[in-house]
Structure formats: structure tokens, C-alpha cells
């Protein structure tokens, strides 16, 4: 599976898990936003807080 196809499959799975059923045009717009935002999400997941770091109130 190519990187693009993998990305698309990952997105489609997340949309299904979230229970979203969108018209095709919005599905594509959301994919573009999601793909653009992916580096931010990866940065979030890669920044592992210390065990003592609690959530903001």
C-alpha cells in the first residue's frame, strides 16, 4: 500500500469510528484539513509529558 493510500485508509477509518457520514465534497475537504493537521497531531503524541505533569484545570 502506498503512503497516500495508507493515509487515506487511516482517515476513512477514523471518520467511520467517529460515526460521521459526510457528502463526498465535505469528506474530501475534511481529508485535506485532517492531512494538513496531521503533523500537529504527531507532535502532540510525540511530546510525552512526565508522569507528574497533570492536565490543566
Amino acid at each position: 500500500m502506498s503512503a497516500d493510500a495508507y493515509l487515506r485508509a487511516q482517515f476513512d477509518a477514523e471518520v467511520t469510528t467517529a460515526g460521521l457520514r459526510l457528502p463526498e465534497r465535505e469528506h474530501e475537504l475534511l481529508f485535506a484539513m485532517w492531512a494538513e493537521h496531521l503533523p500537529q497531531r504527531e507532535a502532540l503524541r510525540a511530546a510525552v509529558p512526565a508522569p507528574a505533569e497533570e492536565p490543566d484545570a
Binding site: E14, E26, L30, M33, R41, P49, P55, D56
Partner: protein, 471 residues
Amino acid sequence: MSGEAICDLDLRGVGDAVHAGKVSSVEATEAYLRRIERHDGVLRAYITVMADRALEAAKRADAELLQGRRRGPLHGVPIALKDLIAVAGVRMTAGSRVLADHVAESDADATERLHAAGAVVLGKLAMHEFAFGRPVTDGPFPTGRNPWDVTREPAGSSSGSAVAVAAGLCAGALGSDTGGSIRGPAARCGIVGLKPTYGLVSRRGVVALSWSLDHVGPMTRGVHDAAILLQAIAGRDPGDPSTRDARVADYTAELEAGVRGMKLGLLRRFYVDFPGLHADVKTAALAAFDELGRQGAAIADADAPTLDLAGAIWVTFLSEVYEFHRETLRDRPQEYGEGLRTRAWMGALVTASDFLRAQRLRARLRREVLGLLDRFEALVFPGQAVPAQRFEDLSLKSVIVPGSRYTNVWNLLGLPAVVVPCGFTREGLPVSIQIVGRPFDDATVLRIARAYERATDWHARRPDPEGWKLG
């Protein structure tokens, strides 16, 4: 005093003129209503003009003055509100067809306080849909045009507030700021915009976008005006628990005290060295920091490493937006504009663990920045990445507005943040600096902003109404 002369004044000037009897509140209100009638067909700052109510309020203000009663500096002064701040009995749309027929049952806390201060509410101002949609020039809720160049957007989401103040269609306005919605349009329209400390101004009666990030604040032609409006709307409100620790100061008492001896931290790496910073904004901002230095402030570079994660922490916003709209999105998606609807869906793709990770990093960012604010009275940096953009150059595909790093960090931390004009680009578009202070030390950020403002004349420049034509 002529109508044009009234509308050219700042808020304090209008209040002083009414107090001195140079103009009545009714005359001032009529002058603004005429100017709205003349120019708002192009500028589109207003969604609802409350002419009859405004004139009634102005008559009451004049009658009280005749009886020797002046409520304060806002007495009889015509102002306007972003159309997500409730006025009892008046339509409140939040710029959306979802609320097109919604009439507010009661005043927002901020509205109550403005009425108590004697202000005259002229109307409800245009905005991006639910403070998160896209700028539009057509449809039922156009978001307004920039008075410095009507082919450009005024930025948002408090677009109408910025347009109305910059164009003299009201003496001052309230906006709301969740990721920069006061400061962005204020910066691009050449006015002052203050996002107060989170919890200083009640959100009761204000349509929510993101509960932990929403702030209500003033948008004005000058810093003193912002202090006057903040004084009127700040304070605890049992209807908004986030205000339970609000500490209200006298926001004009030290306004002219200057910056001599102050230590200011310049967030150079994250903001000044950001490759997306427009060259003209950078030049003007650095000149402004030099001016603060000449006035006696000690400016040194400052940094917080977790600033780099602010964009990642912003999933907080996406989650809260989606949670607020999820039922309506499911049941009546067609009533939203595409720009908001698609971006709101992004929040459905944020996992609970991502959200909590963001809150843990948000706490880390807060510790780092509060540590900086132990060493510095305030932090300074350019107020925006770029000047106002042409409508056709705006991207519809980004979930996060480019350049929002200049503003949204300070919503995550709830710190007071003000933008003040610091010049113009070579194309004649306004640019600004931003000043951020300690929690509930809004008075100090206003004092620094005023120290800069009084050394310059950027705030006194006005856009030319001759340019308010289309095609």
C-alpha cells in the same frame, strides 16, 4: 459639532463632548446612524441596527445629564456589540442561519453593565459564523470589508466590530476572542483590541465557541478607550463561574505612568524569527520595541520551549467547538456555512487521550510562561503574522488559520493580551504589536500599550471614506 466631526472622535472624545454639552447623546447617536446609513452598504459592519432603541437610550442619557446625573465616561456614548452578545428582545444570530430567527430573552452580563454605565447600543455587528466560519462577502451574513482597502478582509471573527470602530460607525465595540478574534481584526484594521484575562469579563449571554478559550473584550480607537470599556464590563458574575476569582483594578489610574524601569521580554525566536512573519510587520514591530526602549523599558529576549507545541495543544479548541455544535451539526448541517461545518467535523476526530495530552502540555506551557512573567512585567512581540489579505487569497482548506500562533497561545493561557497599532505596510495596511501580561494585570498591558501609543500617531490616522466604494 458636525456629525462627521463626532464620528472622527475616539470613545473618550465622544464621552467628553456629551459631558461638556458640545453635543447631545441624541445628536451623537443620529450622527452615527447617518454614517452607518451612508457607508454600511459597502462596509457591512452591522447585522442589526437598533436605531429606535438607540435613540430612546440616548434621550434617557440626555435627560439624566440635564438632571445632573452622569454615570461615567460611557454616559450617552454610542457603542456596538458583536452579534453573539445578547441584548434582550433583539435578534442575535452569531452570524449563522442556525440562529437567524433567534431573539435573546435577556441581556448578556456585559450588556447589562454597559447599560448601567449609560452607554447607547447602536446595534449588533457582523462576525464570522459562530466565530469560526470563513469571511464572506455575500449571503445573509456578510462578514464586512476592511476600511483601509475594501477588497480585503478585516480578519475575524469580530470583523464587524473592527470595521465599525475603524470606520467611525460607532465610538467603540465589544468583540470576543477565542483564538485571536479580537486581536486579529483589531491589528488588521488599525485599532486597539484587548483580550482581557480569562475570568475577568463574564461570558454569560455570549454564544459560546470554546468554553475554556472564549473571552469578551473591547475594540477601540485608542488605549484609554479600551480601559474605559474594560472598566465597565469587568467583574464577578454568579452566572459565569469562571469569574469567581476576578480581580478588578482601576484601569485608567496608572495609564499614563509610562514604562521607565519596566522589564519586557521579547519572544524573538517564536515570533520575530518566524519565517511566516511579513517583512513590513517585522520592521514596524522592531521599531516599536526600540521606541519602548527609548522610553526606559529594558527589553531582553525571552523564550518558552513549549510554545512550539501550541499548535498541537490547539486540539483543545477543536474538541470544544465540536462538542458545542454536534447535535445541531447532525440534525441541521445544511444551516451551517461550509467553512464552519467542515472545520467543526475536525473535532470529531480528536481522541480523548489526545485531548488530555493537550491539557497536560497546556499546563506545562503555562508553567513556562508564568516563569517568564516572574522575570518580566510583560512579554512583547509582533501583533500579527501578515496584514489584511485579499478575499480571493484566503484558503478554505486550513482548519487552523495561518499565523494564528500570534494570538491563540494567549487564549490557551488566559493571559491579558492587547494589540496596538505600530504603523503601516508599504501598501498602506495597518500593523500592530502585542503585549501580554500577568493574570489579572490587564492594567499593566494597557499602560505599556498607552506608553507606546502616546509616543506615536498611528492610532490617530483614519481610513479615507472616499475609498469605500466597490468596483
